[in-house]
């Protein structure tokens, strides 16, 4: 696949790689378009470029102009750039707007065998389709706009083989949090992570995306899963998926790109899915996760590099080694993001929320990943369930995943969050605290007001 996209070998040993799909959004594209303008360049392949707006959009009212003038300006700039350069833009109320990593798969833009890039690190998500997909910086966004290609060094591949299947109440999010915790947040540097094995094969496309989405939190620039029948079934009849005769031909090509049974990997690691418990992060990196029944680690028992960050995490989080994460009171519950803001995530959350109510004093809200997710959730009656249970139902966007919009933690609030990063201050308050977990676990926490083992509610 790499070879198919290789344009040239460049001095210094890197490869010039053709980009099949370039996704852009309002945050990392303005400086890139500006650079093009300065150099008097055009967008090389507008038809291979698709834009949406996600990071800065408010999730309460999306009426224009936005209350925040800087957000409004960013959206206007994107609209203008798309207009000038003839780029397909899925804007607010187009019916197809949403988080870039939610909409591209859902519209059938992301397909097996493609190279997919976006000025956003969670582009690894798209690897779930058997695509080579990775995030890029703003100067590379500029390069791709101008030349539909970029320079890239070939990555090593670590195959992560997962045996058996996940137990009831344990989800793809728990699996990836467990993997990141076990391998560490830097282990993936220089690697693509290929996920395989019976547990991965049994996952739905949406769950596979959750896994690949967080490959970046493990340090890997790409996540990857071989395309199979599940992939094809998901893509069939999607807006931009191949149709009719092309569809049959596409499938026969897609079947040839799976990495072969006997392929040799640079590294291999095995996991047993059946042994993984619901997993929650307690610290300030996505690698600081523990099983819901486990005790918080003693920093003295950790390696020197982990020890320092563990101590920092204890200070910041206000937790004590040897204690439990279970029953920790929380303030805010966030269901959404490109990790867990898809329809299946909302279905699971709704199934737990149904007939129950959010605990007193807890702010709980659901932010669908896209307008299509929102509509489907409405049609399936999920919205009503959430509202009856005391959850706020919001408009699609990135929201409190990174709090570039008005949704944010205040002071030292603790959130149970279905997003992907728990860095200090990530959710909008410099002292705010984030516990990453599956949407099911977030829902359980909302109901009880404390970190809860969702299996006790099911």
């Amino acid at each position: 696949m790499w070879d198919l996209h290789r344009i040239a070998e460049l001095p210094g040993g890197s490869t010039q790689l053709f980009v099949g799909l370039h996704l852009i959004h309002e945050v990392t594209s303005p400086q890139a378009f500006f650079a093009l303008k300065e150099k008097g360049l055009r967008v090389r392949c507008p038809e291979q470029t698709v834009a949406t707006v996600d990071h800065i959009v408010p999730t309460t009212s999306q009426d224009r102009p936005f209350a925040d003038p800087l957000a409004e300006e960013m959206l206007c700039t994107l609209e203008e750039n798309c207009e000038i350069h003839n780029i397909k833009f899925y804007g607010l109320k187009s019916g197809n707007q949403g988080i870039v990593h939610v909409i591209a798969p859902e519209l059938g833009l992301t397909q097996p065998g493609m190279t997919v890039v976006c000025g956003d690190s969670h582009t690894s998500t798209h690897g779930a389709f058997g695509a080579i997909a990775f995030g890029i910086g703003t100067s590379q966004v500029r390069d791709v706009l101008a030349s539909q290609s970029l320079t890239m060094n070939k990555l090593k591949v670590r195959r992560i083989w997962v045996n058996n299947t996940l137990k009831k109440g344990v989800y793809a999010k728990d699996l990836i949090l467990h993997i990141i915790h076990t391998l560490g947040v830097k282990a993936g540097v220089g690697y693509a992570y290929e996920f395989a094995g019976p547990a991965i094969a049994s996952l739905s496309m949406e769950e596979r995306m959750t896994i690949c989405n967080m490959a970046i939190e493990a340090g890997a620039r790409c996540g990857y899963i071989n395309p199979d029948e599940v992939t094809f079934k998901y893509l069939e009849n999607r807006l931009h998926a191949p149709k009719e005769r092309n569809w049959t031909q596409a499938i026969s090509w897609w079947k040839t790109i799976s990495s072969d049974e006997k392929a040799i990997f640079d590294d291999e690691v095995d996991f047993d899915a059946s042994k993984i418990p619901p997993t929650v992060t307690w610290g300030i990196t996505p690698g600081q996760g523990i099983g819901i029944d486990e005790k918080l680690p003693d920093p003295e028992s950790l390696s020197p590099s982990e020890k320092t960050i563990a101590q920092e995490a204890y200070n910041y989080m206000g937790l004590t080694p040897g204690g439990t994460i279970l029953d920790l009171p929380i303030d805010v519950c966030f269901i959404g993001s490109c990790t867990n803001g898809r329809l299946n995530d909302l279905k699971i959350a709704a199934s737990i929320a149904k007939g129950r109510h959010v605990a007193k004093g807890i702010k709980a809200f659901v932010v669908p990943g896209s307008e299509n997710v929102a509509k489907a959730a409405e049609d399936e009656g999920l919205v009503e369930i959430f509202k009856n249970a005391g959850f706020e139902w919001r408009k699609p966007g990135c929201s409190m995943c990174l709090a570039m919009n008005p949704d944010r933690l205040e002071g030292r609030q603790i959130s149970a969050s279905s997003s992907n990063r728990n860095f200090k201050g990530r959710q909008g308050s410099a002292t705010g605290r984030t516990l990453l977990m599956s949407p099911a676990m977030v829902t359980a926490a909302a109901i009880t007001g404390r970190v809860t083992d969702v299996r006790t509610l099911q």
């Binding site: 500006f34 008097g40 596409a250």
Partner: protein
């Protein structure tokens, strides 16, 4: 600020323009562009901010404020210019003010690389030569100068001095391959070959 200058583009074989001097060793990037100006979503407004603190301290007498230097494009500096923080904002600020070539005794490595990626050559010469050039400019800085890249020489209206430009950067400048974009854009034919053979861009035909 003057009208929107045209930024370096394509092969750069010579820089022609007025020259001026900025004397002093170890001028760091913090002085070239103070840290508080790094908070920006584009580099656009940096041109006015170049040497902001030095300039306000000198109250209009800084070389970048003197009327006579308005429109100049060649800056002659001394030793270890551009040391300190790696900020790309520094060459960006110089470029946006109007600088298109630097000549000095030596340049900090990262600064040098950042300049190259903008298409701005940093030529070097011995302390003695630099001093002679600076004197010549200061004696009469209305004249136009030419830095010839391949010849590795700088010409005044009546004299010429040898300067050094490293071979790699020299070729990159002369061939126009000094930034990633032009590198990437120079393989158009190979790009088309790839594009025309990608199944998903060609109705999944078999090749």
């Amino acid at each position: 600020m003057k009208d929107q200058p045209s930024y370096p583009k394509g092969p750069i074989t010579q820089i022609y323009g007025q020259a001026f001097t900025l004397r002093g060793d170890d001028i760091d990037t913090d002085r070239i562009i103070p840290a508080r100006f790094l908070k920006c979503i584009s580099f656009t407004s940096l041109g006015d901010k170049v040497f902001a603190d030095d300039r306000s301290e000198m109250n209009g007498h800084h070389p970048f404020d003197l009327n006579i230097n308005k429109g100049a494009s060649i800056l002659v500096v001394n030793d270890n210019f551009g040391c300190g923080s790696s900020r790309e904002h520094a060459p960006q600020a110089l470029m946006r003010w109007g600088i298109r070539a630097l000549i000095g005794q030596s340049f900090a490595e990262i600064f040098y690389g950042n300049c190259l990626s903008l298409g701005i050559p940093c030529a070097t010469a011995s302390a003695k030569t630099i001093n002679a050039i600076q004197n010549h400019i200061e004696n009469d800085n209305r004249h136009y100068w030419t830095l010839k890249i391949k010849k590795k020489k700088i010409f005044s209206n009546d004299q010429a001095w040898e300067v050094d430009i490293q071979q790699g950067p020299l070729e990159m400048l002369a061939t126009g391959k000094w930034d990633a974009i032009s590198q990437l854009m120079s393989n158009e034919e190979d790009l088309l070959k790839v594009k025309n053979k990608l199944p998903y861009l060609n109705q999944f035909k078999k090749f």
